[in-house]
């Protein structure tokens, strides 16, 4: 699945297994990196848990990029990524997207309190996606979790959560800011979740131990970390 698009002769290929939430940001970065270096970058988006599992099973992936440091840690402990190669390159932010606006504005919890308009609240699966766990923490600290529990549905990733809301099948969703920044939430109402309501989501990248191009992969990871890219929090 990774090596489907065969690179041209002589041009090395770096396969980046990335969390879906990071894909839009990484794609822009990968394009500029490809231009600077003579390399081809292939993005392999998916749930962090699935990609971590694939790396453990020996999938031909060179770089692991995740919004959940726990997975990076698990891979480092198992010797599947180089511990010394781990870099943090940004901090993910959680937003509330909704199909409707709340009159008079209010804070980020307003759409979640307009009970008559609310049938389903979509979050990423907290067991497998860091934004899911963050969403659960945020709703819990806002005192909404128990009341909303019957309305909560899980998406496999924030990308699917956003798709649920965009198609109107869910009324409200909690997703990564990066998806909104990449223009994927057009037509939806967006509100930033209070950052104190959840633990920050550290975005990390690491070189896979089995990579055939460890130096090139490391250059990619380092460049990513030094870039104040779109994945980084927008100063307010």
């Amino acid at each position: 699945m990774a090596g489907c698009a065969a690179p041209g002769p002589g041009i090395p290929e770096i396969v980046v297994g990335t969390a879906s939430s990071l894909e839009p940001a990484l794609r822009a970065f990968a394009d500029s990196f490809e231009e600077e270096e003579n390399v081809r970058i292939t993005l392999l988006p998916g749930a962090s848990g699935v990609i971590a599992r694939q790396i453990e099973e020996g999938a031909p992936i060179d770089v692991f990029a995740s919004a959940d440091p726990a997975y990076t840690q698990r891979l480092a402990d198992g010797g599947f990524v180089e511990p010394a190669s781990v870099r943090s390159f940004g901090e993910g932010r959680l937003v509330v997207v909704s199909t409707f606006s709340v009159r008079g504005g209010g804070d980020w919890t307003s759409p979640l309190r307009s009970s008559e308009k609310l049938r389903y609240v979509a979050i990423a699966n907290p067991r497998t996606a860091p934004y899911g766990a963050a969403a659960r923490d945020a709703l819990t600290s806002a005192g909404l979790w128990d009341a909303l529990a019957p309305k909560i549905v899980y998406g496999e990733s924030v990308a699917q959560v956003l798709q649920f809301v965009r198609t109107g099948n869910a009324d409200v969703g909690l997703v990564a800011r990066s998806l909104v920044d990449a223009g994927l939430a057009e037509g939806l109402h967006v509100a930033d979740v209070d950052p104190s309501a959840y633990r920050p989501i550290a975005e990390t990248a690491a070189v896979v131990s089995a990579s055939e191009h460890p130096l090139l992969a490391q250059r990619f990871v380092d460049a990513l970390a030094s870039e104040p890219g779109p994945a980084a929090p927008v100063p307010s």
């Binding site: 067991r127 899980y154 496999e156």
Partner: protein, 222 residues
């Protein structure tokens, strides 16, 4: 052990299979008796859900019964009902993917039954429904059971389209296949193993029961 997921899988699988039988067996009979040409066309149409990727099917289902769709919004306005994120959505997905398996198998059974039996029944005063129940189904009985078994197996195993239309809601739409996927994904290998084994044994048990029923004989409705 996620008993909810097992209960839900069986509930979804059996309900979807029941719908497949009610819709699929008469449909198979209808197709089996179409004129050549029309028959091949109808067979191909029925096969479509079998060859489409489950995600495409899930996408179509969302288009068809999603909350913004014509059907979906009408159902929600009238009854407050929605397939999306509901176990009935999982049933719908499982029904759509299992129907072709049932229809193809049962259709082949009907096609192998000599038309003379049906014609004899007609000259003896029986209408189409009566012929269907007393002649067609009993004479294609083994194929019907084989179709039921295949449809059930496919319904219980349904994953992709279910995930898209019903999502992953613990206790409501998290079936065994989804629970297994999640367990593998989060590295809970032993849990995945137990779930997979349980699902295998439960399905196997049902298939053996169907096989024994087939051996026991043909219904002699008159």
């Amino acid at each position: 052990m996620d008993w909810d997921a097992l209960r839900l899988s069986l509930q979804v699988g059996l309900t979807a299979t029941a719908f497949s039988v009610v819709v699929g067996v008469p449909l198979a009979w209808w197709i089996a008796r179409l004129r050549p040409g029309w028959r091949e066309t109808a067979s191909a149409l029925v096969l479509v859900p079998m060859v489409l990727p489950p995600t495409v099917l899930g996408y179509y289902l969302l288009q068809a019964v999603g909350r913004r769709s014509f059907i979906g919004s009408a159902l929600e306005d009238a009854f407050g009902f929605s397939f999306v994120f509901d176990w009935t959505g999982a049933v719908l997905a499982a029904f759509v993917v299992s129907l072709p398996f049932l229809v193809r198998t049962v259709q082949a059974g009907f096609e192998s039954v000599d038309r003379a039996y049906e014609e004899a029944a007609r000259t003896l005063g029986r209408g189409e429904l009566s012929i269907f129940m007393t002649v067609a189904v009993p004479l294609a009985w083994r194929s019907v059971l084989a179709g039921v078994a295949l449809a059930f197996g496919r319904a219980v195993g349904e994953f992709g389209a279910t995930l898209m239309i019903a999502g992953n809601v613990p206790g409501r739409t998290r079936t065994m296949s989804i629970a297994i996927y999640e367990a593998v994904q989060t590295g809970r290998a032993s849990e995945a193993q137990i779930l997979a084994l349980t699902l295998t044994l439960a399905t196997l048990g049902l298939l053996i029961a169907v096989g024994l029923a087939a051996r026991k004989g043909v219904p002699s409705w008159r």
